[in-house]
Symmetry: C2
Subunit: 196 residues, 2 copies
Amino acid sequence: MRVTKQKAQENRDRIVATAASLFRERGFDGVGVADLMEQAGFTHGGFYNHFRSKEDLVGEATIKGFKELNERYQDVDAMTAIDLYISREHRDAPAQGCPAAALGGDAVRQPESVRSNFADGIEAMTAIIEKGLASAGRGETDLRASALGIVAQAAGAIMLSRACPDDSALADEILETCRAQCFSLIEAARSRSIAG
Amino acid sequence: MRVTKQKAQENRDRIVATAASLFRERGFDGVGVADLMEQAGFTHGGFYNHFRSKEDLVGEATIKGFKELNERYQDVDAMTAIDLYISREHRDAPAQGCPAAALGGDAVRQPESVRSNFADGIEAMTAIIEKGLASAGRGETDLRASALGIVAQAAGAIMLSRACPDDSALADEILETCRAQCFSLIEAARSRSIAG
DNA sequence: ACATTTCGATGATGACCATCATTTTATTCG
DNA sequence: CGAATAAAATGATGGTCATCATCGAAATGT
């Protein structure tokens, strides 16, 4: 049956949101169109009324995932951001977590259009950390470089910690060690910024 | 036809080596048994004479991948290791590169047995960096913590750089920035080690 | 109110996939 | 040498996948 124009848009949004979660949990290749549609509350057939291909959806879901993440980290201190990001809670809930950490490895095998969305997402994450790094000081030094390094270490930490077995000592050690090291990097960037 | 016992072992090794490369290039799910066997120079049927399941091969290929990597980094200075690891050459040749960076994201969806191999590989990488960090000094401080942070940042950098579009400015910026930051971390760890 | 459009459901398509049974062929072991 | 064995090839199985054609029904535009 047909459905109201607004309702159709809501349905479309729900498909994208469901995909954004499922992809982070199972990978781009781990989610079939039929399975996805069922999780969103539909049968498989309607999919191609909304998207030209699965690849299109992958691109949209990537944007959606980064948007969810960055809204949650908007306007928080860099220390708080790292405390939230490099945490067991984040590691153990990939479906609601960072797309870069969950799907960065999958992204390599995606077309340029999708990878372009990843670059935008990484750029946005970096900007958030950089903003959270800016202290009362003048910010002479390259805060962006510090932010980029912190983002790489944080995403790497979550990915590596997830790759370890459940309840592995190493998995937790990676998290704790990298959190502490990122805290140091934040402090160092700030003191350089004030001094500069 | 049947084949000499030694030849059969060589064939098996070749399948594992081919898998180790192909998996890093296309992901665990991106390589089918038939395709893999063909790349190794066989037809698909013989696969199950060598392995009980594809999952078994995934585990073995992971070990093989880390072994290849760690042999290449054995006995090198930490600076040199990072210079080799965080490089365009490494980023652009995933099939010969680090399994953690290429397959860490895929590992989450693998059984514990495979993840256990990943933990061993990460442990080995960390040990190599830690050893390369030890200077003439007494090594009072926690070099392992520094090494783990460096490994996380390095793997994260390669993963994120690969996720960006080809010829993207961000992709190269990630590499250069993280290499410089890892160099600083190495220097810092060493001076603390000497002072301690 | 009626014709048109379009959302969503049903079902089919052809291509892959992992896995296994069978056969052929050659080696290994007694 | 002969019997048992095992590696590799061939071919089939049942499952899943992305994509598409079709159709019913309801909302939209006139």
